[in-house]
C-alpha cells in the first residue's frame, strides 16, 4: 500500500533526478537532462498512482494532494519548454519550483483518509482539477519567464528578449486553453451538482477575473508587441490573481461560504 508515510522516498528520488537534470542542462547535455527529469517525474507519478490505487479515488482533494500534481505538471511544462526552446535555466527553475512544493508536502503533510464528500463524487472532478493543475504549471512557468524578462530588460540583447517573451506568449496561450477547460468543466459540473452553472461563488469570481486578465495580456501582445514591459506587469498581476483563486481565497472572509472550501 502506498501512503503518505513513504512519500519521502519517492520525493527524494524525484528531487535527486530533477537536480541531476538541471545540472546536466547547464552543462549542455540536453538528452541526459531530459532523461533525468523524466525519471524524476516517473518517481512522483508512481507515488500518485499508488495513492490513487490504494485509496480508490483520484488524489485531488486536499491541498497536499493537489501540490503533488502541481510539482508534476510544473516539471512537465518545464520539460516541454526546454525540449522545444532549449533554455538552459528552465530545468533549474522547474526543479526549484517543484521541489518547493514537495518540501511543503513533506513538512506539512495533509493526510486525509475520510470518504469523499458527495458533491465531489462526479466524473467531472478529476478532469476539472487536472486541467487546472496543468494550467497552473504552464502559467507558473510563464511567470518565471516574465520575472526573468524584467531582470534581463536592460542586460540582454533585444533578440533574446523577443524570443523569451514569445515563449511566455506560447505558455500563456496553452495555459489559458487549459484554464478555459477547467472553468467550463467546472460550470458544467456545477449545473449537475447544484443546479446552476455559475453562481459567482468566490472561486468562480476569482477564476473569471484571472481569465480576463490573462486575456488582456494576450490581446495586448497581439496589438502592441513593443509594449513589452506593460505586458509583463499584466502577466505578473494575472499570476497574483491566479494565486488568490487557487489558495488565497481560503483566507478571505468573503469566501467563508464558498462551495470550494472544504
Amino acid at each position: 500500500m502506498i501512503g503518505w508515510n513513504i512519500f519521502i522516498y519517492f520525493a527524494a528520488a524525484a528531487v535527486v533526478f530533477w537536480a541531476a537534470g538541471a545540472l546536466s542542462a547547464w552543462k549542455g547535455a540536453s538528452k541526459v537532462s531530459l532523461a533525468a527529469s523524466s525519471a524524476g517525474m516517473l518517481s512522483l507519478c508512481t507515488f500518485i498512482a499508488g495513492l490513487w490505487i490504494s485509496s480508490g479515488i483520484p488524489p485531488l482533494r486536499t491541498m497536499g494532494e493537489t501540490r503533488l500534481w502541481y510539482s508534476l505538471f510544473l516539471c512537465m511544462a518545464g520539460l516541454i519548454v526546454y525540449s522545444r526552446h532549449g533554455y538552459r535555466w528552465i530545468p533549474t527553475f522547474s526543479t526549484v519550483m517543484s521541489t518547493v512544493f514537495i518540501f511543503i508536502n513533506l513538512f506539512k503533510p495533509q493526510i486525509h483518509t475520510q470518504p469523499l464528500m458527495p458533491a465531489l463524487q462526479s466524473p467531472w472532478f478529476a478532469p476539472h482539477v487536472i486541467v487546472y493543475m496543468f494550467c497552473y504549471g504552464l502559467l507558473g512557468a510563464a511567470t518565471i519567464v516574465g520575472l526573468y524578462l524584467l531582470w534581463a530588460e536592460s542586460r540582454k540583447p533585444e533578440e533574446e528578449l523577443r524570443q523569451m517573451i514569445s515563449t511566455s506568449d506560447s505558455l500563456v496561450r496553452a495555459g489559458l486553453a487549459f484554464m478555459t477547460f477547467g472553468m467550463l468543466f467546472g460550470a458544467l459540473w456545477a449545473k449537475q451538482a447544484w443546479g446552476h452553472y455559475w453562481t459567482w461563488d468566490p472561486k468562480e469570481t476569482w477564476a473569471a477575473a484571472t481569465w480576463m486578465i490573462y486575456l488582456g495580456y494576450l490581446h495586448l501582445r497581439l496589438s502592441r508587441p513593443e509594449k513589452r514591459k506593460a505586458a509583463i506587469w499584466i502577466l505578473l498581476a494575472a499570476f497574483l490573481s491566479l494565486q488568490m483563486c487557487w489558495w488565497g481565497i481560503n483566507f478571505l472572509p468573503s469566501a467563508a461560504g464558498s462551495v470550494h472550501t472544504y
Binding site: P118, A119, Q121, S122, D169, S170, R173, A174, L176, A177, F178, T180, F181, L184, A187, L188, K191, Q192, A193, W194, G195, H196, Y197, W198, W200, P202, T205, W206, A208, A209, T210, M212, I213, L215, G216, H219, L220, L222, S223, R224, P225, I234, A238, S241, M244, I249, L252, P253, S254, A255
Partner: protein
C-alpha cells in the same frame, strides 16, 4: 486615433462608464434583473444584436466604431472587466452583479466583443478558432445575463409522513409544480433521496435523487440540496430548477471548449 492614445481613450471611456454607473446606482438603485423576464429579454437580445449590426455598417466611416471593434478597445475593456471582477472577489458582496458600474463595464466589453465578431465574421478555415472563442463567449455572456430572469429555482421540503405538493421560491412565494413528492428513505451516508412521485390521475412511481444525479420531471430538474433530521423524522430539501436559456448558454460553452482545443492545436496568429 493615435497609436499610443487609443488605450488611454479606452480607460477614459471605462472611467466614464463607471461614473455613469455610480450616478445610476444613486439615482435609481441597483438593477433588478428579474424585470428582464420573457419576452423582455428576447426583445433586448434582438435589439442588442440589431444595433450591433447596424452600427457595424458605419464602421469604416466612424473612428469610434472602428476603435470599439479593435484590439485597442479589447485590451482596456478586458483589463477593466478583470479589475471589477477582482473588486467583487475581494468584497464578496453578492449585490455586485446588480451594481450599475459592474454591469456597464461588462456590457462595454461585451459590446466590443460583439462588434469584433461582426467585423471578423468569415467562415474561412483559419478564422474558425477566432469565431469559436469569440462568438462562444459572446453567446455565454449575453444569454446568461438575459436568461437569468427566466430561471426558476424552487425549494421543496419533503418528509416521510405525506406527499408534498408545494414548493417555494427564494422570495417565499408558494408554487405547485403539478406533482407531489414523498420521501421514502434518505441515505445519510450517500446523500440519496428515495422518493415516490404522485401526479393527479396517474399511478405513483419511484425515483432517486442524489448530489450530482438530478432527476428530470415535467420540465423541472430536481436536485438534492439538503437534509435534516429533527428527531420526529427526516426531511430532505430538494431544489426544482427550470432554465429555458440553458441550451443557448451550453451552445456557447461548447463553442468555447472547441475554441480552447483549437488554441492548443494552432499557432498564435501573426502580428499585424
Amino acid at each position: 486615433m493615435g497609436q499610443g492614445k487609443s488605450f488611454t481613450a479606452g480607460f477614459i471611456a471605462i472611467a466614464a462608464l463607471a461614473t455613469v454607473g455610480l450616478v445610476l446606482q444613486l439615482a435609481i438603485g441597483p438593477l433588478d434583473w428579474s424585470i428582464l423576464h420573457w419576452p423582455g429579454n428576447a426583445m433586448a437580445l434582438t435589439a442588442f444584436i440589431t444595433i450591433l449590426a447596424i452600427v457595424s455598417i458605419w464602421r469604416e466611416n466612424c473612428r469610434a466604431i472602428r476603435w470599439m471593434a479593435s484590439l485597442d478597445a479589447a485590451v482596456p475593456s478586458l483589463l477593466a472587466t478583470g479589475a471589477v471582477t477582482v473588486i467583487y472577489g475581494i468584497t464578496g458582496n453578492s449585490s455586485t452583479i446588480s451594481n450599475w458600474s459592474f454591469i456597464l463595464i461588462y456590457a462595454f466589453m461585451t459590446t466590443s466583443l460583439g462588434l469584433t465578431c461582426i467585423k471578423r465574421l468569415s467562415f474561412r478555415l483559419h478564422n474558425i478558432p477566432f469565431l469559436l472563442n469569440h462568438i462562444g463567449l459572446f453567446i455565454v455572456l449575453v444569454c446568461a445575463a438575459l436568461g437569468c430572469a427566466d430561471r426558476e429555482e424552487l425549494k421543496m421540503v419533503v418528509n416521510e409522513a405525506h406527499p408534498q405538493w408545494h414548493a417555494v421560491d427564494d422570495r417565499g412565494f408558494g408554487y405547485t409544480p403539478g406533482f407531489a413528492l414523498r420521501l421514502d428513505n434518505f441515505s445519510e451516508e450517500k446523500f440519496i433521496s428515495d422518493l415516490t412521485v404522485y401526479k393527479p390521475e396517474a399511478d405513483p412511481f419511484k425515483i432517486k435523487v442524489s448530489v450530482n444525479h438530478p432527476h428530470t420531471l415535467e420540465g423541472w430538474k430536481i436536485y438534492q440540496s439538503g437534509y435534516d433530521n429533527y428527531g420526529d423524522g427526516a426531511v430532505s430539501i430538494l431544489s426544482l430548477v427550470r432554465d429555458p436559456w440553458l441550451p443557448a448558454v451550453y451552445a456557447g460553452i461548447f463553442m468555447m471548449l472547441a475554441g480552447a482545443v483549437t488554441l492548443l492545436l494552432t499557432k498564435r496568429p501573426a502580428r499585424k
